[in-house]
Symmetry: D2
Subunit: 388 residues, 4 copies
Amino acid sequence: MNQVRIGVVGAGWMAKAHSTAFRNVPMLFGNEPAVPVLETIADIDPARAKAAAETLGFNRWTEDWRQLVADPAVDVVDIVTPNDAHAEIAIAAAKAGKHIYCEKPLALTAGEALRMTEAAEAAGVTTLVGFNYLKNPAQALAKEMIEAGELGDITQFRGTFDQDFMTDPTVPFSWRHDRSVAGSGALGDMASHTISLALELVGEMAEVCGLLATFVKQRSVATGGSGHTAKASADAAMRAVENDDLTQFLCRFNSGALGTIASSRIGTGRKLWVGYEIQGTKGALYFTQERMNELQFYRQGEPARERGYKTILTGPEHRWYAGFHPIAGIGLGYNDQKIIEARDLLVAVATGQKATPDFRFGYRVDRIVDAVLKSVDEHRWVTVDEIG
Amino acid sequence: MNQVRIGVVGAGWMAKAHSTAFRNVPMLFGNEPAVPVLETIADIDPARAKAAAETLGFNRWTEDWRQLVADPAVDVVDIVTPNDAHAEIAIAAAKAGKHIYCEKPLALTAGEALRMTEAAEAAGVTTLVGFNYLKNPAQALAKEMIEAGELGDITQFRGTFDQDFMTDPTVPFSWRHDRSVAGSGALGDMASHTISLALELVGEMAEVCGLLATFVKQRSVATGGSGHTAKASADAAMRAVENDDLTQFLCRFNSGALGTIASSRIGTGRKLWVGYEIQGTKGALYFTQERMNELQFYRQGEPARERGYKTILTGPEHRWYAGFHPIAGIGLGYNDQKIIEARDLLVAVATGQKATPDFRFGYRVDRIVDAVLKSVDEHRWVTVDEIG
Amino acid sequence: MNQVRIGVVGAGWMAKAHSTAFRNVPMLFGNEPAVPVLETIADIDPARAKAAAETLGFNRWTEDWRQLVADPAVDVVDIVTPNDAHAEIAIAAAKAGKHIYCEKPLALTAGEALRMTEAAEAAGVTTLVGFNYLKNPAQALAKEMIEAGELGDITQFRGTFDQDFMTDPTVPFSWRHDRSVAGSGALGDMASHTISLALELVGEMAEVCGLLATFVKQRSVATGGSGHTAKASADAAMRAVENDDLTQFLCRFNSGALGTIASSRIGTGRKLWVGYEIQGTKGALYFTQERMNELQFYRQGEPARERGYKTILTGPEHRWYAGFHPIAGIGLGYNDQKIIEARDLLVAVATGQKATPDFRFGYRVDRIVDAVLKSVDEHRWVTVDEIG
Amino acid sequence: MNQVRIGVVGAGWMAKAHSTAFRNVPMLFGNEPAVPVLETIADIDPARAKAAAETLGFNRWTEDWRQLVADPAVDVVDIVTPNDAHAEIAIAAAKAGKHIYCEKPLALTAGEALRMTEAAEAAGVTTLVGFNYLKNPAQALAKEMIEAGELGDITQFRGTFDQDFMTDPTVPFSWRHDRSVAGSGALGDMASHTISLALELVGEMAEVCGLLATFVKQRSVATGGSGHTAKASADAAMRAVENDDLTQFLCRFNSGALGTIASSRIGTGRKLWVGYEIQGTKGALYFTQERMNELQFYRQGEPARERGYKTILTGPEHRWYAGFHPIAGIGLGYNDQKIIEARDLLVAVATGQKATPDFRFGYRVDRIVDAVLKSVDEHRWVTVDEIG
């Protein structure tokens, strides 16, 4: 039985998600072409590393990610640290000849992302960036339909990513509000997912023009809990929010299609409103992650008397789904996307093929993010080529 | 019984819609404060004028709109001609002291619209522009909620107007594709409605930046039928489409809210996709005209365990509705919006009050349209103040 | 210009709906094959008759329906009285050789309905019963699809009619709660519409078995207002509700399909939930009147990878719609159904053809109602043939 | 670390689902109060038992379920065999003092189910029946709302379970069509889930009256594959289908509420249409498993101007959800329900408490199934008390 040995860097919420995903892969998809082994996990906080190793079932743990990267028993370095640490770890891993699985956004800047990409390409290692919303059978179907020409020429893309967990102004300041750690806010953290869908389904963008806004200008400093469960006491100090609550931008795709992307972390009323409407000369698609098992499709060529948007529930006819269930409409969940992602990485590593979305794709996303930021700063249209 | 005597200029599809609306008003709302009289109808084609007068029940007809405007038996001049004739007729009507009901867009340019507005204001006459989607009980509720602060500070507006009747490239060239008659395409003809909703619900815009695109570059010249039922023979000549199939633009509202508006007349899959999502710090609204009797509302302040978007069916608690039905959920149709519009005009004229949306509002819409056009031409952000 | 002269019996809410509908017909559909003339209106309350005549535009009025029935200037007797008066008036009208338009339910019992039907058939007059939900382009499409075999053999029908305006126990007692005037409650007043859809779309029923329930056992006697706007003072007397708030019944269709129908006037959360799901061996349909411009259709024969329920918005390809609008998706309202109904009656009378649904259809509906009542009384399955 | 050792009987599709669920529990919920150990798996086919043990990670396997039941290293006997084997294994397990986790339906008859229940109760062991649709945070919320009186008195329940994977008449004969193995079809296999929701949310039923129908009367005998992926060659022999494709029945609840339940395995257009509408005097709920992360709720007491059905996305405020995600709207999938079920069993066993739904609940469901069968056979209403 072929094994792929995983070393995870970072022991927070995403470490749990990745580790759980890996362990589910053979149970759902079987032992071929390889089974994952949770070899080791690193965190600068040794207590956290140890606890994660025990709960999640790693063979070993360390407080030194460099040790993990150097470890000959590790085949894949899986990076789930805060965003600002991705580049250093990934470049080291590439130099050590490790395959790399990295959470999104790939880096804080396109420049950083490019260096990571070039390092990995030079080393010839397999890479995968965690744009997990692409790992939905519904998106595989969307892509297949578009590639088959069933939408004709795409005319417009309207994408979104709204969540409203920060609408409440008493939600405390966290690393997500800290520009030096997180980069931009709604743009880099959330809209990057929507950009990944746009690039995957509609193709490259030529130029962008955008706006950012921060409505909750200060938040209290947390005095307990962490991440989504952090709480602040009533007399907690306030800290200025450093990045955007909300972004909206226009884009022109290379193909001539027009696009808008809007994303808000104070997106009142929406919980996981990652989605799009894509219109073409022969058909259209509508999707929202809140109903992740449904793809809506309209075919222009049907008889006028019965044309209408059709709600397709994903099923075994669509990529990946048959690993989970033998008949359509048995809903997948968010975690199942991570299982698919882990499975794709394992297959790529075991068979020596490229995974998607790879680092170069992650770099393309970061270029768009940087172009939007520049367009905001300079209040003008920015071509993607202006970004290195 | 107080009477308001109507003179309609133009005898096409919209003349039928307006006339039918007027005749329904007393049947639904009673005879107070006034009943409409269909006094006379004008069209340059005398046969069309005569036929319309007979079918629609006008007392008289004429081929000369100037005669109608001068007619002492006419209280309201109702303009349903192609867009390029609005200004001349309206200014003449204002000078003759007539109240004016004019279809949208008010004019081909903001400058023209301003002259019309100033003429009407100088004459002290009542004006109303046919942005009929505002005449929906659902929009009255939306406005009431926003004014009462139930959405808090608005953070983003996302508006649309898609129709797909021109996705079919064999639909012939019509006046809607002729820039000198129609002005812009998806922008002026369709997105102007979405702009009317944005201005009414979110307020004035500070600046805009947009894109236009024409995907169907030529259409055949119609050889039979007219309007939506025109047909071209197989060997019909082709003519270049002169305006936009599709527009998308960003806007920044004076309040600080961000907005996107996207509209397409080749909006595959959508039939009357006039709508919006409006998010605020305390609540959110979602609406689409395809489900015109529903307003979706989310209230942030509800207990987290039961928060969710609520589908409100319009009913007698909402403005205008009780004229139609005594209980909620008995659907209104598109034509009912026109009845409400005609009713609002009648009440305003009979009671000597302002109607809404008036010419100044129509001018405000046309300014946004012109600002978007300028932003497209110059590929940059344009402040609304740059437009006269 | 051919005329059809209408005499309306009853001057309440439905009189307004019918009269308005008639007046809209020529405005929307033109003057062929006939135009309606609102000739006279009768009500036992002369003030009400006079007021209605003035507001609605009748030439004359009377307090004696027998005079109206005898009037040689009346071609059609239009019956919009409370249900218990339908039979006497209709039979008199048939004997007088008048065409008859009667609101539903046709009668209080199947026996009464049969006598009306036989009287009309003997007289050879045109009849139409106001099951207005059948007059929706969406239902015309549904029927066309079923007749064309696009659903294959129908396996099950699930129908509903819920409204919640009586969930509030302070809504006063009205004629609708009085068995001698209204007959049964949710069953006869509301479910009869659902039965009309079932018979029209699935065909005749063989047997039924049902339940009734009354949850609000007493209501206060109204001390002001009337109909849906009646109010009771705090110290109003109470009166026992005499018929059902709620019914549910099973049926077996002659074809072998199974069916359930459920209807409630305390149908909390639903405003006009008249609808169905119809499943067949080749396709399925779903409809609710709350979204009356949409028919949902599923076609089993499509490729599995893209099968899904499709939302068809009604348009000019569907029966009747083109009288209203030239393109799809411009919503019709409830009143537009009544216009279509009035139009169908006019055409039938003017051309000497049968209208649908006619009295015999109304009798078929009443037979099902009576069979359900008998099944409730005797707590057993009742074949429809047991009802005379 | 406390351990609960699992012995699974049966090595098919459900064995995989249960085993995977157990292994996910500690990863998601942590190691307290106990961790599951996959101790042994039994199947009469030794190759299947061995393969399952290896893929799913059991310590041991056996071809003799009696050995497994007698094994002192097994704490929980988990029964995922075909339905006809449940009773014998469960009774043996109870006698051996093992806790029991059994797939639904509990037994082929209510009598059998009662013997299982009495055996388990006599032995004082913990039992759980796999009605996994109850293990959805949405159902926990529904139950909480009903128990808190937020729906008032329930007036009607309308439940469904449609799937259309057998609409295709070329799907081969399987054990599901064999009465001696599966019992009834749509009724026992599918509607039993809907009955579980009805009993849990509305309470006990007093009497039922139903219908069954089989539309696909013969199916070909499979010549390859198994379960949902079985295929028949073109010349395969045909075998008569022995149970129902479709059932519909009425019920009267002890509380006075009325109910209908309809279920079809040829439910064209529906993939996993397990759901309900529940109306009460103060509120209403709507749910379908195809959108398993949404519960729709209507509250009668809200101001009339903003009343409407609300779509609540499940989140950490709802039972079980926080084990998966820290914020609302991150969708769970079908498999996550099984994880919750396994978790509930583990907690009950580890803490010595009752699990729900237990065998007595499973017996209550089977009583309703038997009452419906009797009502079909005798074509009459049957009280639940008539069933032993």
